[in-house]
Amino acid sequence: MTFVRNAGSDRGRVSELLLRVLAATALALVWAPVAHAYVGPGAGFAVLSSFLSLLVASLQTILAFLTWPVRQLFRFLRRRRAYSDARTTRAVIIGLDGMDPTLTERFLKQGKLPNLARLRERGTFRTLATTLPPISPVAWSSFLTGVNPGKHNIYDFLAVNRGTYFPELSSARIRGPKRVLKVGRHQIPLGRPRISRLRKSTPFWHYLSRVGISCSIIRVPITFPPEKFPGVLLSGMCVPDLQGSQGTFSFHTTRGKARLHGDNRVILTFEKRGTSFHSYIPGPPDTSRNESNRTLRASFSVAPAGSKGHATLEIDGRRILLSERKYSDWTELKFRTGNYTSVKGICRFYLKSIEPELELYVTPVNIHPARPALPISHPLAYSVYLAKMNGPYATLGLAEDTWALNDGFLDEKAFLEQCYLIHQEREQMFFDALDKTRRGLCVCVFDITDRVQHMFWRELGDDRSPVSGQGAMTTGTVIEELYQRMDNLIGRAMENMTDKDLLLVVSDHGFRAFERGVNLNTWLHQHGYLTLKEGAPAGDWFQGVDWGRTRAYFFGLNGVFLNVKGREGMGIVEPGQEAARLCAELREKLHGLTDPETSRTAILRAFESTKSYIGPYRENAPDLIVGFGDGYRASWDSVQGKVTTAVFEINQKIWSGDHCVDPSLVPGILFSNWKIGGDRHAITDIAPTLLHVFGTKIPPHMDGKPWDMQP
């Protein structure tokens, strides 16, 4: 290891050694004896093929190097040609999930939305027909593909597993790696988790980018898992949290002895050790062990800090000072598996109270954008780029935690603060993408409008809900301020655009009050279509249902399914005529269903999927889609697949606005800086319109029709 020598002698020794090696090699070659062995043709092929591989690789490298200028020139020409038939070189679409045309009109009249008013004067303001059913995943899927749900296969947030009657995510399926190496109790995954995209049909930006138009797509719902295309995309709604759920928060308290692992929440009691309180954040399932249901954990402790209203949180060797009723910054969490590997996520802490009880809310653990455990962007580096540029950000599809507010774990102020923190991140991403896309397409969807309206609609005070006008923040201006902030956002976007650029501001649906819930499973039970087992208690997800004597069931937010033989796991309805007859019968009975307590129409219309959808995936749709009336929606128990005693019930939850009603009641908005002709505009028209604007051929399978537009 250590050599001591006079500096000048080094070179001489190396040369001497080299000479000796060369001489020995030459001697060995000259005096090599004849090898008496059979050398088959295989050896010849091996030598030849290795040589050829090397030759081809070298030639390819040289060729790639030599053709680089030509390729760049070709790309440049292709980019120029891409816009040769385009009516604009830049289109920007701002999606405001759930922005309501009636409210917009009201605020416009009051002069509270100056930028949208400017758009209306110079261009267009119309209502935008939504999809059947008017639910975000369905509507945004139609927005991005230009087709009806029968072609894109999304009918709700959840889809029913026809075999087990259990719910599954409708847009994506995440499974473990195909192969694992089992060593005793341990297992090593051989490969990545398998993620299947269940949304079908092709997003319109794929057609644009194929001809050389740059596309930046930010947080458009139902783009997870991200598809490969020659642009950049960050997935939106339906991106899971690190647990694989659509958002599971945890709440830690010193109150009582709570320990609950629910659908969207985990409630845990702090364990007191000395002066500090200990708990853990549940993480993803531990795939390194054979044991089922074992989840990884990130343990932490909280201790009151010296100053009043503060506490110190210690996690993974780091100390974070928490202030009462304030969110922490995004904190990196590391979940260590048994294989000495780790999965990283991020979360925010919200110290709800220190005294008399210590209460801490932890957001769902988001996939770390800089070290994503699952692909959340295309290219993978795009989410990393955004994290490096603007800092960590919420990656979860439904990042605004409506469940925590709905169930009282967060108050309204905390919920709003969370929403606006997330919105701020989205704005940064959007303006970064807008700046990058001086030519091409930039699409960004903001979710805050939907989440806040769901939770604060009652503040408008024009519904008959028992929680109408209630709440700690009864100023009644939350939604108004929200609309004004969106108007401001649009104003800033317009400052970054020229008159030649096309700007579309769209929403996927509007909003209505959610005053009364309808339990259609109870209705089906009372009318003899759904039967419960004798003496068995009815529970979530059809617990207690006697499938052998059930002809129809309600699943999700709008779907009635027939229990068809051969299609459902325990189906009894014969497919064909019997099923068609039953479907028509149910449609007749549900059409115009009246609430006896209020004498109002609870269901406006019921639609048969065979008549409402066209496309190869129509068979996956519910057999009937229910269009609830104004003020009605599927009840909370009904959505959970539970049969109760009453068909109609008052909505007692803070969640007081909704859109899962008849599509005619909740159209979306359409603003543009260009004049748009025609009198009926639908969300499915946007994809073909954009292709038309950029001079790209519209695929014949698209259901939407391009609009007549003038700059």
């Binding site: 290891m1 250590t2 001591v4 500096a7 980019r79 490096k388 001086r438």
Partner: protein
Amino acid sequence: MTRLLGWIDKVFDVSFWLMHPLPPFVILAVFSLLTSVASLLMLRWVSNQKELRRAKDLIGARILEVRLFSDQPRVVTQAYVSLIGDTVLYLRYALTPLLVLAVPFLLLFGQLETRFGHAPIEPARDFLLSATFRTPDSLATAALKLPPEIVEIAPPVHIPFTREIDWELLGQRPGIYNVALLVQGNTVSNCVVIGNGLAQLAAERTRGGLWQRIVNPGECPLPPDGTVDHVGIQYPLRFYGIGSWEAGWLLPYVAMILVGVLLLKKWFRVEV
């Protein structure tokens, strides 16, 4: 200051004495590790970690920008320009810890150079001792007073042009010896180490003050008003290596520090 330097000498003497059974490369590795740890602690203490991380992230973002938006020349050009700006920003935040670290590193490098840079003269091996004088007339009167274990094996070579005399000597037995240089009634004592292993060696000795004392802590600097300008002892260079690769002490030392810092930075939660 001299007292402080004396203490530092002692600390290093004790450290080397404790590790003397270990091979020199291992001792160098131990010092690299200690330096890595000390550097990380110092970095955490004196640097603006938040801004340093932000600057690094921005650099990373610009690099990704070039890759992600390669079809947009305007974005790529802007990314390159910003990359330069962000690199300057990073250097700005890295400058403070660099300046703070410069002082202890200087002291450390001086100490390590005198111990790892050269090897003692092997017994029965000839070596040169050269001296340069302020005035040419000193050449005629200069003489060496040698201990019995070191012998002069050739007449000294006088080079009037450079005012230098070279003596060819031979150490007979391992040990630390004092070789006195007598010039015009003055005596300049020099330490000569014969043997193997690690020892503090002064291969070069010149006139100067504190600076010389720091960069060459093996011996005190020559008196500023004396007749001798420079004394050099031709200790052989020491090389370190793995397999066929070898180099002076500085390269493996710096490489090991870098590796150590990169491996330990997460453990110490330090942004570099």
